[in-house]
Symmetry: C2
Subunit: 329 residues, 2 copies
Amino acid sequence: MAPVPTSSIDRLVESVADRMAEVNALIASHAGSDVTMIPEVADHLISSGGKRIRPMLTLATARLFDYRGDGDVKLATAVEYMHTATLLHDDVVDDSAMRRGKPAARMIWGNQASVLVGDFLLGQAFKLMVDVGSLEALDVFSSAAATISEGEVRQLAGAKNLSVGEDHYMAVIDAKTAALFAAATAAGPIIARAASYRAPLESYGRNLGLAFQLIDDALDFGGDAATLGKNVGDDLREGKATLPVLLAYGRGSAEDRAFWERCIERSEVQDEDVLKARDLVLATGALADTQARAQEFADRALEDLKSVPPAPMRDALAEVVGFAVSRLH
Amino acid sequence: MAPVPTSSIDRLVESVADRMAEVNALIASHAGSDVTMIPEVADHLISSGGKRIRPMLTLATARLFDYRGDGDVKLATAVEYMHTATLLHDDVVDDSAMRRGKPAARMIWGNQASVLVGDFLLGQAFKLMVDVGSLEALDVFSSAAATISEGEVRQLAGAKNLSVGEDHYMAVIDAKTAALFAAATAAGPIIARAASYRAPLESYGRNLGLAFQLIDDALDFGGDAATLGKNVGDDLREGKATLPVLLAYGRGSAEDRAFWERCIERSEVQDEDVLKARDLVLATGALADTQARAQEFADRALEDLKSVPPAPMRDALAEVVGFAVSRLH
């Protein structure tokens, strides 16, 4: 048997495959409704080949403490619904045409359906959480829901603005991405009643989420539509002042700064600008520094795991960290 | 002292005024965020003079059983947040320009902010419910959240369609309006641990909500923008096949049916069509029958109240029913 690669989600996938099959069945059944537009819209996105890392993290952190019950499957499903609801609303907010290499739901069913089906999935997520009956888990997820949307509004308020600064950027990704990762990894120890491990695992999730988002934002200047399911330069076209942009802008010549201002603040982006932007984030070291920042959070996530008892599942969680930061290579 | 009118919310307003002051304070404080766009958008709608009937119903149904604690105030605030979130998303879905006599939030801050601030308020609502710690209340409200959005999608799927039928219409208003009224009136007995009164009060709320929505839909052909805060004919312009329309369409001549098909199914509505539509719903008895249907649900709501011990608060709840159906006169 070939050695398991150390920067992969394969071991995570394998070690929760049995529970994940139940999650996938529950995802499909609870997105049902006699209002046919609901399963149509939900299935379009749900079956579009997302990696489902967040629900796997909930299953994995529960199994780490030998959790027995069905709360892990329900909370994992709730996590994926919350994530899907966020994507549906995000695509409306960003006017996105594509999602995971397919037309965004809003391009087929319209913005209205995307808003309302997102709301429906959020409602279903809370019903599943109530079903589990853990007020602590409900607390974590309802706080995450408020934090995620607060982060999205913060991002919207700072859109097309190069003077927002790195703190703003970090606050945005901490809220819109890391909060749900943190809730997903807190859920396991909460339902498994492993209270003393909640803090390190929640911290692991947050740091992993930050590393993930930093690399995602770096990937807007690399990779390609086929592997990413989105187009290189999408963030640029949407006027998102991500970290690579903020760093390159800060380090740029007057001419470079004028270029970024035109692209980000005035939304005048031509196809050739995407290549030029890529050159600039490479030449100024902005991309390398974004990657280094991601590695810092990855290191913190690995440090968090040291507080957790050694187990094959812990190794699987460590490999996810490697996967998060290796995607740029 | 003048006699209390029997079709008014005055007595309800008076009998929960002390607790409502706390609700209003909580509404203002929890809509806060250092992301300034959030309180701006939220306050625009929250301070726009809605009657806040739903939170008052929660306070009243808790006080009916001498509830002591702060759960009533928190759940009442959650109810108003859920309602506000729904309005923000509704305005996006309906492309509405006005809400309560003011420009809709989306006209000032854009659809994106309306979607995201709605999400934020929904998250805050769930946080407040978790704070109260009643899994039964959480169950009622999370189910209502899913039901409301399912009803909105059902309405969207049947928009601009005159063949949907009365059952479709009733299913829509039961979900999009009555479900939250029912949750609001179930919340009181739930937190006051008056378990045997949950069913009749939940039924009271549902029937009251149905009566309310039927009269609202009738008011699209009467009243005026000043008293309603919306323009007469708005539903018509949005292609909504409400009960008065469905009834008038079913009873109309070939020429009348062609008129309705043009207005509702092809969205070709001129200003003079609003007057013609009004004539038709009056002449065919569609408006009177809609009102009669509302009265049926009002009667059922009053019947529900008979299961509740006599008390001044019960009388106040009965007067709200009278208020709901008297608005058309």
